[in-house]
Amino acid sequence: MHEDASQQLTLLLIILFPLAGAVVNGLFGRRLPRSLVGFIGVGSVTVSFILAVTSFAELFALRAEDSHKAALIYQFYEWFSLKLPNGAEVPINVRFLMDSLSGVMTLIVTGVGGLIHLYSVGYMSEDDGYPRFFSYLNLFMASMLILVLGSSLPVMFVGWEGVGLCSYLLIGYWYENRDYASAGRKAFVANRVGDFGVLIGMFILVGVVGSFEFADINAAAVSGQFRPNFPVWPFGVVPSIATVACLFLFLGCTGKSAQIPLYVWLPDAMAGPTPVSALIHAATMVTAGVYLCCRLSPLFITSDVAMSVIAVTGTLTALLAATIAVAQREMKKILAYSTVSQLGFMFAAVGVGYFAAGFFHVFTHAFFKACLFLGAGSVMHAVHAHGDADIFKLGGLKKQLPTTRWTFLVSCLAIAGVPLTSGFFSKDEILLGATAQIFRSDDRLMVAVGWFTLIGLTLAAVMTAFYMFRLYFLTFTGEYRSAGESGGGHGYDPHPHESPASMKIPLIFLGLGAIFAGYLGMPHIVPVIGSHLPSWWGEWMEASVTGHAHPESMKIINIASGLALAAMAIGIGSAWVLYRNKSKDVLAEKVPARLYALVFDKWRVDELYDAIIIGPIKQVATLVGRTDMTFVDALLTRLPSFNARELGRFLSRLQNGVVQTYGMVLVIGVVSVMAMFWTPRAHLEGAVEGGTLQLVAAPGLGYEYRWDADSDGEFEGGWSANRIHSPTYGLEDVREVILYVRSPRTGASHHYALTEQWTALDLDRLDTGWRRIRSSLPIVARLSDGKVQLRLNGAQVFGKTDTPEIIELTMGRGTGIENVLMVPRAKVEATVEVRNAFGNVSTASREMTLPDGYLPERHALFLDATKGVSR
């Protein structure tokens, strides 16, 4: 549907500028002056931001004149194509799309990202890895923009993995510290678990729709293609395809956006430099999960089950993280758990079907949380805290750090939801969504989810206001508690100083955003008064994001706003009472010590994961590692190498360097070779070649042969070099007659040498189908007057009474008697004599059975010849 739109090269350039910055800084940064590195880092993102603004303006104009489907497209190239099992070809295009959703997200990413880049110039100025840092940061920007602008799941997934990689690189930026490096690993592993979910979800979607494009998937969702039951489901109630796909995608979101159960990496991610925490782990990357849900909102909204799971997970995460944040002592830790909690709010909004509200919270949160993190960074910079800052060692910083203090306060007000700040509008919308669900739905489950979400989020909002102002009061009010420190060691600088301009400017911009960004999404209907306001955000988002309609009922609107205001007031009020101008953790003294310790230890979730998941995996790994060491390394690697080495050591003794020894070996060799060739080697084979019998003697250098085909001691000819001999056998040549007996049913066979005496044939075990009726004497056979006679000695074929006592058999011809095949066969013996160049002679003989039918026409003569045979 977008094919006729003209190519928007700008979209590609938005991504390419940060990418180029990453490449230049990454490859050449160490040789460039610092100022240039910083300029490239900040400049590339700034250009990207300007381009994003122009694109957005274009989009805006397009929207104004045309339909709701306005979007900018840039089709780069076809990456590859996929063949589905049903034979359909699915092209995977590297195509970028800017619509109302991704447009806003692009502005957030480049705008906030640009400010944080600027901040980093000051913050990281004394770090050795300056170019590396900017290279990673720019690479992150490029990845995030691919994630946001990608028009299909695979392209988005490239960005999704890219930001995961950059997150890993930046968390472990100070990789010399083992804890930081392992925090990076933890983030990466937790994200991998989620990525697996995204991949599975992606495959389910493409299996149903046959396209990876978001637009096609959403269209399919609207037309109900995901309504049918999931085809493979082993137990219980069968969910719809939409439910399964959404839950898998949501698993990915829990990883990337730090929700239960995969949120544990985000607090540890604060090991990275503070700008990283602000950019990646608060403002942009962690909101990718919410972005994905909004992107696929028509799909998500078709599954009540998935939506409920998202709402409950979001609410639980918001609550859990908020309780943890209440007890923490360090600035970035508190902010990290606050981020997890706020992400929970966003997912709760998504879960109750208020996608636009959830995304609005992404938007406002980006400003105030980035501002808070940068403010924390500014404080840490001021007191020379490395890693994190303990708020109980700070205090009273409002005098020394006025800019930081005011922007921090504004952001605290916003996140607490004080009226007319941005957080107020977005949080209000989320609570409104939860309330609306209670009244909208008839389904008991959905109503229960609505109640749970509303109550949980209200409690979380109370705690949010409380812990943010606990943080604010302890940091900026009262007395500075490290003033007496000597300055060195673990203490903080006794004389804090305000940060440089490059750090203050972003703070001011973000602080302004924290206040005013919310006015884009003012509620459609003002509570209590009931007058209508223009809600620009809702209308703008309508084009890309679906969701439930806003309620018109004043009751619902008033409940939501009332709860939001009450939560904010209670939270800030109690923080004011408990922590204003205080220096101790008053709350810790008022709650049971064990409960406080439990919350301070983050509910020991990490320990739980260690015990039930990581521990067993480590044990298995240890076991496998030991197996590797004892079996693979020792038995398969070291033992053979030991053998080879020792053998080599032994054999190398032979190389003693004495020339006589070598001469001796040479003489022994020559003599051995001569001895080997002294006598000829005789070997004889018989083969049937085209109906005639051939005798073949083994070849040798200078060999001559002479033949005695019937082994009667007289050679048929003289010496010749011909090693193949084709004699003609007559009955007079027969040495021995054997009786070949075979049971076709069992496949067992025997042969017996026959003489003129009766020879017992042990035939009973051949399953002959015969039975004895008169005696237990064996069946016997002999050569008699040139015939092969079989005497049954009282055996009878089953069901017959007239089996003759003596049966005569024909030479070389099979005779079947009930279950048994009997063939008399003649044997001859051939001899060859071999002579070599030394004149030495050796002999070889071979017994051969004449092939069946070799003597057919001479059968009659056999009568006379047998006497000569059985000698």
């Binding site: 003693n656 360097g657 004495v658 020339v659 006589q660």
Partner: protein, 100 residues
Amino acid sequence: MGISAYLALASVLFGIGAVGFLTRRNMLIQLMSIELMLNSVNVLLLAFNRAYPGNHDGQAFAFFVIAVAAAEAAVGLAIVIAYFRVRQTIETDRATLLKY
């Protein structure tokens, strides 16, 4: 008597040469042993040439062998002298640098 006496002589000479080469440690004696083996071959060549006198291949080859033997003696003696200068001995079992 015929050719067999020559063959016996050549075999005995070759055997003495081979055993001498293998058992003696003195390089000069070893060179002499080699000469002995070469000359046993010369005896054979001449004996066969006399027994089958169609051409003079045997005699011609005997000259070649003599020439080669002379060259070998020259090179061999040079090696012996060089070795003596290094080791102050011409015992071959002391020349084991190439072992292992």
